[in-house]
Symmetry: D2
């Protein structure tokens, strides 16, 4: 899935249209400006057009973020002939209409997660992208961490053997304080799911490393029902049992009220030959245990180094460390490469729709109080097209 840039040979300019200039929009803009320096290639990503809620804010932010033009109406952006790829960094409930409009106009689309509020919307978008032959990508940035790429390589090479068990968490404490306002995040119509929707990154990691789950059994809980700005309409914490197609079983936990955990995206995967462990709070480390029967055996802390090409692009010396924003640069590189090479990007809308199918199955499991099979039929069709 990693793309060697050496193969990118066609001279090409790709013009980016960005919707939204909040924190995430700014991060995308930064990545768009850096990607060519970090991953030099003959393709050139240009910051063409910025859309924001009104014309004035858009103009001002276009100046700050280095965009050529601006607009106060995102509908202008998705139809602009000078825009090749639409990048959606708006609140969750706007992802679906914007992505749909962009695809209908034949644009490539880069959309922040979650792709949509409803699984059928995600499936629809995936199908539309397939029909229009557009490159799509959803912003599961942590899956771009070279540590995850290394983990995937190790698993593929059989270093930990056949997978047996997975324990994944994405736990944070940003709403642990009951006096903190929930904003759009706690309203179902704007956010959809709560902790699970926001922190479903852990499912993109399992998708990459373990594959798809066929059945899930979940429990949801809204611990703080009322916040200063109104009632909380979605879950504060969720955990689930999963049965993966590959035969492994596992647990997943998401929480936005887990005091002390700031970016507790962790994964422990055990196999027949060893175990891998990862914690995004120490994002440059992978822990590996290999069962080779030696008294000197133990979990080894592998520190990211230039053996990993996506690390080497940032720094030729080991142990110097990547940060959160660097992962966005790698993500942007993958998007550009896919457009240039006319190959699918990853995770594309179909992959995201499969993640949304899992979260939907978890929600259903909670409401039905039992095991639920994941409904992937439609998304798998879309891939086959």
């Amino acid at each position: 899935m990693s793309v060697t840039l050496e193969v990118i040979r066609k001279m090409q300019v790709i013009r980016l249209g960005l919707i939204g200039s909040g924190f995430m929009g700014r991060t995308h803009a930064l990545a768009a400006h850096s990607v060519g320096l970090v991953f030099p290639s003959t393709a050139k990503l240009e910051c063409e057009l910025l859309a924001d809620c009104d014309s004035q804010a858009a103009a001002e932010n276009a100046g700050l973020l280095g965009f050529r033009r601006s607009t106060g109406d995102w509908r202008e952006l998705v139809t602009d002939p000078q825009v090749d790829v639409v990048d959606i960094c708006t609140p969750n409930h706007l992802h679906y209409p914007m992505a749909k409009a962009a695809l209908e106009n034949g644009k490539h689309v880069f959309c922040e997660k979650p792709l949509a509020l409803l699984p059928e919307e995600s499936r629809e978008l995936a199908a539309l992208a397939a029909a229009r032959d557009c490159v799509t990508m959803v912003g599961f940035n942590y899956v771009k961490n070279p540590v995850i790429t290394l983990a995937a390589d190790l698993i593929e090479r059989g270093e930990i053997g056949q997978l047996r068990h997975v324990r994944g968490t994405h736990v944070e404490d940003y709403l642990a304080d009951p006096l903190r306002e929930g904003g759009w995040r706690t309203q179902q119509s704007l956010a959809g799911l709560g902790a699970l929707g926001d922190l479903c990154h852990v499912l993109s990691l399992t998708q990459r490393l373990v594959g798809e789950p066929g059945a899930v059994c979940a429990d949801f809980q809204t611990v703080i029902p009322e916040r200063p700005d109104g009632p909380v309409e979605n879950e504060d914490q969720v955990h689930a049992l999963l049965r993966f197609d590959c035969g492994a079983i596992g647990t997943i936990e998401c929480s936005r009220i887990a005091w002390g955990r700031k970016n507790g995206l962790t994964l422990e995967i055990s196999g027949s030959e060893g175990t891998l462990y990862f914690d995004q709070e120490r994002q440059n480390e992978l822990w590996l245990y290999r069962a080779d029967g030696d008294e000197r055996q133990g979990f080894r802390r592998i520190l990211l180094g230039p053996d990993q090409p996506d690390y080497a692009a940032f720094c030729p010396a080991p142990g110097h460390g990547l940060g959160f924003n660097d992962l966005k640069v790698i993500e942007m590189r993958d998007l550009v490469a896919a457009i240039v090479l006319e190959t699918p990007a990853w995770p594309d809308f179909a992959a995201a729709a499969r993640i949304d199918a899992v979260t939907a199955a978890m929600a259903e499991s909670y409401h039905r109080s039992g095991w639920v099979n994941v409904n992937r039929a439609a998304t798998e069709d879309s891939e086959a097209q």
Copy 2:
């Protein structure tokens, strides 16, 4: 639950009858000899009688382990008038008949975990102990770790507020290698449950710190169906969702095939004011996060020190560390104190029966593929007597 020995004033000799002299029997013998030195009191624990599978082994081991007398027949031990407390360190399937016989003879009983193979047997033993007014204790030694006592104190004092979530594991790799023989552990008639039965320590920690779960939903898996010594009849790995009476929810995982984890008994408990984390592989450390809104906030690593009386008894300086065998000494101290003070020990047979009710509910949940309420009625009755 911790007992100050200063209150033990009655001059008293307690005579121990030990059944079994394998590893666990030897550990108990060591603890029996050490307890008076580490926790000086006027009660004196004497190693009176050792029972083993045959007379010769018993005699030989009695010499090695410092017992006055020996016997090749455990039935002689449970009726011996010179024995005050029967200590059962035999394979799992013998716990029930031995404990029952000991109680019927009016003996106090210290039994290794699990108390019995079937939950109804555990309930029967708990009821019998209550009826005969015998002191009982089950060997959940990790719950005696002063770090757990400190955690319980912190929770009781509200340091982490109202409990919200629990993540517990007890994962090891002693049967991760498919070429390793399972022995009695993989035979249902001798061991009962597999990984869950063996590693239910994690449930004794949640019992101590979080309370009882009312409902569970579990998944079991036998990953290695066949070993060199025959088919495997119980589970290699199990995980479950739990709903605790106190309102917290949580997950529990047990595995005997988790490569690299040697004593992976871990617990993370989040509450409305903070979080606690514990890992038995670093048994002298407790991690505490307190939500007090300061920029200097973080998980702090509390290293066991003489602030904890049960640590101070071993060493007056902090950070010098207790080991596995020391926990058995604390356990033995609690048993002796309960007998002398004529109070219940903890965890007694009733507490163990409640743990067995949870594991039984988990097994039933797996077979019924859904949520199951824990049946505690009988055990709660027995306590009330």
Copy 3:
């Protein structure tokens, strides 16, 4: 020392002239392009001119790195009227002549460390900068880590009291393998000092957090005297005892042959009220122990978050992590701010000259086999101007 950008008000364009486009040059270019996005202000840093060893390489790299113009002769760059600040990213032995020429042409100068090969050269440059009223900065990027800023704040506020002891290391393994070529790094005429010159970052941290040492006693060792590309002319490992002006004592260790350590820049500072610990391999964490007499006391792991403004500029959520390249952006921000505000940057040439005085004293200490006072007279004069 941290600069709030809110005070930067004057509309201003600053034009950068970069010499060298190896790894470090590329990192500087990336930072130059990002600084305005991460730290928006009315000052604008423009990539004006790139100098490289020959015209063709310069032209090609100017394209890749986003510079307007290029030259094959650095002397053209330092005299170019369109260049406001000269940024020197060349091998060590060229720092001195280039910085001197730039200052003589009235340019502001940003120079990678070490400032010069000889302490008298560093002193000369510091004096020259003071005389010409140029803003200067030396690239001790780790000192820009917001974790270090937090540590400095904590020390200033007395959180760990009066400083008593310091243990600093910068140990790596890039030349641990005797079959690896030393290149310019092992030749005295090109690199000056060996491990100490390369890894003197640790001294910039102590300078920031502890102050200046008055006396040192050091031991040097060249462990691998011969490499495939010739004899090794400088030290592989060095360690020293230090006596700081503030009364604290400490040890410093630098090594380029410490297997397994990739960026082992660590610092432990003990004071009368607590202790701080830092490890650049986990660059987003600061460990703090406060002696407040509570049984719950322990080292707490503070994870960098938006409480620190220099972190918040990159990410509004805690625990998401900065990387190596982000530190260069902060450094570039400080340089720009100093030029705009017409204040000294830090660490400027005078500060770097004091570090070079310490390393020179260490080398002398080794040769004289005893304690040596650090000769700071000249550099302190230059500050006073």
Copy 4:
């Protein structure tokens, strides 16, 4: 240096005479009672006679600690014909006269560290022991940690190659609070050296793993000159540069005022093929880095397990952990084995005298403000006899 008990064949009773029943005396008594259970052999260690400051205390403590007889006069103990080995657990300044008297009476001697207040006294005792053919041992218990034995094995097998650098610390905070009384520890006539004398364990580890240093250069500091109970007469913190005979160089640091460090006995040893790291606060772990050129390389955390015989004696399962008191049992086992096998124990008085020669050289180095050669001549003679 490790002794397999299988070779102990002679039926033998060894009678212990213990002087002192404070914390350390109690720890020794506990070890004496446990050693036969943990390490079964045909030799039997019997607790024969306890000496304490007065007859009444001695009698009372003899009861508590399981000794047959008691005396209020240690001179009676060292001449008692029923005592085979004299075990000295008294304050530092009494070690020399007691050990001398015991040797003069032909007793084997187990003495807590430091062996004496003056290096010439240590040398005298070593010579006396050699002349009388007595088994001697000094209580450097941490060197008995099976993790250190594993480290020694790894070094001996060349796993980390030729040793290049050592960084050792033993830092604690027991006198970090200036309001805490120093007691005998801060009085030169009773304690001799301060932090260095108390925490010279780190030198026993380097002695075991790296060998002897030939030259040292040290700095001493008394940070808190006055305590509630009077002036402080010895150092609070000390650090030193060392040159070992094997060619490695290193630093050593001892402190009793390092807030937050409770038992900070750490050691990092780098060699031509790898690095070892150890921290007594996590006493069951050894970290090993092997330079074998693989991208999966990293420090591995080896958790003590039954591969190490001295661990297996306590517990057959890995990761269950030894504690401080267990190390004393191993130490006692080595003493018993040496007496039975008529071989030297380790570290004997000659080894301790060499450590005392190093600490004396450090003190001299501080007073002379420069490098000092370690005077080992006499102690090496004593070994040769």
